[in-house]
């Protein structure tokens, strides 16, 4: 990673406290999001990737809190702002939300309020952050809808979410997120709920927005195919930790951590035919309330040793920006 970072996350720990238990959902995560680049966060569900995004936006549920670490937003105009120190719904945090940092949600079906018109919901964001009249906001909303490729925008702007198709709703959600030209876009599995063809269109849209506005994108996904399409940089998370990170080239061409390798081996590659071997990862993710003592991946790992059972491995730089957290990565056979 070389560019200019816009968000730095250092040793972030976010814990959840539902049902009188403590779940260390994010347990010491560090990474940088850089301007004009896409950072993909990969991992199975429950690995803490969505929580990380919510932590940046300070949109965590009630029974949870950031325990340690800091999240810094490097603003071009206001200097460094430590997001994790701001009041959750205070004025400073709110002035950044939707303006400098915007979020796209996983399910476009539920991310739009069913009782308001789509155009109104997009305008709401513009009016919140910019000193414009309603007419101007409406004009800009219309432009956004056109930009997002929504057909008949004059009609669509006054329709309710349920009158939109799934793909169109996600476009509307993206329009909402992009309405104030944010510096950072957090996209939490934006295409999981959509058809494959629509998926491709949405990604294309995000890609072009990134190029036009130099927006930094944090893209959360569990789909390795998406990663290879979209990512400039990659971090792989497992049970609340980053276990491998680096540029897309470094991680995808030369995966080191057994988990990353297993993830890559578990997806079929188009064109290889049906003879290819697809290996599912054995075992299941551990119960978050009953974690292994040492390396979190140890119970499912084929290369674990005694050290793995005892302690969580530290961060180790292989070359350039390629980082891995594994005691035994040297023992893992290369292809």
């Amino acid at each position: 990673m070389s560019g200019e970072s816009v968000i730095s996350v250092k040793n972030l720990k976010t814990y959840f406290y539902s049902e009188n238990r403590c779940n260390k959902a994010v347990n010491g995560v560090s990474f940088e999001i850089e301007r004009g680049r896409t950072l993909c966060v990969v991992g199975e569900s429950g690995c803490g990737k969505s929580v990380t995004a919510s932590s940046i936006m300070q949109l965590l549920p009630k029974l949870s809190r950031i325990e340690e670490g800091e999240i810094v937003y490097h603003s071009e105009t206001q200097g460094d702002i430590v997001l994790s120190k701001l009041k959750k719904n205070g004025k400073e945090m709110r002035s950044l939300r939707g303006k400098d940092i915007a979020m796209i949600f996983q399910d476009p079906m539920t991310a739009l309020n069913p009782v308001y018109k789509v155009g109104w919901q997009i305008m709401e964001n513009i009016l919140q952050h910019e000193d414009v009249t309603k007419e101007e906001a409406r004009k800009r909303t219309l432009d956004l809808l056109i930009q997002m490729g929504i057909p008949e925008p004059e009609k669509r702007i006054d329709q309710y979410p349920h009158e939109y198709s799934g793909g169109m709703r996600q476009r509307a959600v993206i329009a909402m997120a992009m309405s104030c030209n944010p510096k950072v876009l957090l996209a939490d599995e934006p295409t999981t709920a959509l058809d494959v063809t629509i998926q491709a269109q949405i990604f294309e849209l995000m890609e072009s927005l990134k190029k036009e506005h130099n927006t930094a994108i944090l893209l959360i996904t569990h789909d390795m195919g998406v990663v290879s399409e979209m990512a400039d940089d990659v971090i792989v998370m497992y049970m609340g930790n980053v276990i491998e990170s680096g540029t897309a080239r470094e991680v995808l061409k030369n995966p080191v951590h057994p988990y990353t390798r297993a993830l890559l081996a578990s997806i079929p590659i188009l064109g290889k035919g049906k003879e290819q071997q697809i290996e599912p990862i054995r075992g299941m993710t551990p119960n978050p309330h009953n974690r292994p003592k040492g390396c979190q991946f140890e119970p499912r790992c084929d290369f674990s040793c005694d050290t793995c059972r005892e302690s969580m491995p530290g961060e180790e730089i292989l070359e350039g920006t390629h980082m891995v957290r594994c005691h035994c990565w040297r023992e893992v056979p290369r292809e």
Binding site: Y15, C22, L63
Partner: protein, 307 residues
């Protein structure tokens, strides 16, 4: 930091400490639902209050030597004392005995009405929901009629037709109370009917009645139990209201409502608190305990309500 925030962080700190010490991981043995219910303080308190009042009413003869209907003209409107711990009413009847024996009738009427209604509701509802067709259509319409009738109006109309007696009031409660449970049982059946294990049972060639009542009904039971408790609580209150209007169980029979009814005049209200306050509190406590238990059962079984 505000007081609320401090309290919030303190609570989280405690959970975190316990979690890190491994205390929380060791718990959770035995039945999950049961332990969740047991840990619900309000539900347990409700269960205790309910049991105490219920047992006290059942074993009334052991707790008091007075009879509820015996008039003692030498002891009129006496405040609570050693001899009469709840005092006496306008004709010298011991109020403690009246509350206990009255509880028997009130609980019998409300419980009988709720359970009878539940029996009919479950039988008709599950079968109608399972079979569908004309039976379903007719019973559904009928339940709609019963639901849109204000309960008290319906009860009073039936009192007009049938006349006042303890037995009639129970029958009236059964007739007016079945529709809620019917709808619940029916809805549960409709959703379970589509599940695969039921299709599988059909494929095995099991008979309809067996599938319906043995394999499907148990899965719909817990919301029905909650509804029965709600009905018991409602009927206790309704019996009291009916007696208050002088249209419930005949006045000669001691019930909670009838005891309260005797204290409607302003003089009693102002000068003889012991006639209306204890029985009013007992009714409220009893109904409250049922509500707590009902809430507890619902919270343990319904995973959607958490937090």
């Amino acid at each position: 930091m505000t007081f609320g925030e401090k309290r919030f962080h303190k609570k989280l700190d405690k959970i975190r400490r316990l979690e890190e010490e491994g205390v929380l991981a060791k718990k959770k043995k035995g039945s999950r639902a049961l332990s969740k219910f047991m840990s619900n303080k309000m539900a347990m308190l409700g269960l205790v209050i309910f049991t105490i009042i219920f047992l006290a009413c059942i074993f009334a003869p052991l707790l008091t030597s007075y009879r509820p209907e015996v008039v003692d003209l030498t002891n009129l409107m006496k405040p609570p004392s050693k001899d009469h711990i709840f005092g006496t009413d306008k004709v010298g009847r011991d109020l403690f005995a009246r509350v206990l024996y009255g509880g028997r009738v009130s609980i019998l009427v409300a419980g009988g009405g709720a359970l009878g209604g539940a029996l009919i509701g479950v039988l008709v509802g599950s079968f109608a929901g399972y079979r569908g067709g004309w039976l379903d259509k007719i019973t559904m319409r009928l339940s709609e009629v019963f639901m849109s009738f204000p309960q008290l109006i319906l009860v009073l109309v039936m009192v007009t037709i049938m006349g006042q007696s303890t037995r009639n009031i129970i029958i009236i409660f059964v007739i007016t109370g079945w529709s809620g449970i019917y709808r619940q049982a029916r809805a549960a059946m409709l959703s379970i009917r589509e599940e695969e294990y039921v299709q599988a049972l059909h494929a095995f060639g099991l008979n309809d009645m067996l599938i319906c009542f043995k394999h499907m009904l148990p899965n719909a039971l817990s919301p029905i139990i909650v509804n029965i408790t709600i009905n018991i609580a409602a009927f206790i209150l309704e019996e009291a209201s009916l007696s208050f209007l002088g249209l419930g169980v005949p006045m000669e029979v001691a019930t909670w409502g009838n005891i309260l009814n005797a204290s409607q005049d302003m003089y009693t209200l102002q000068n003889a608190w012991w006639i209306w306050l204890p029985v009013g509190v007992v009714i409220s406590l009893f109904v409250m305990s049922i509500n707590f238990v009902g809430d507890g059962v619902r919270d343990t079984t319904d995973s959607s309500i958490q937090g």
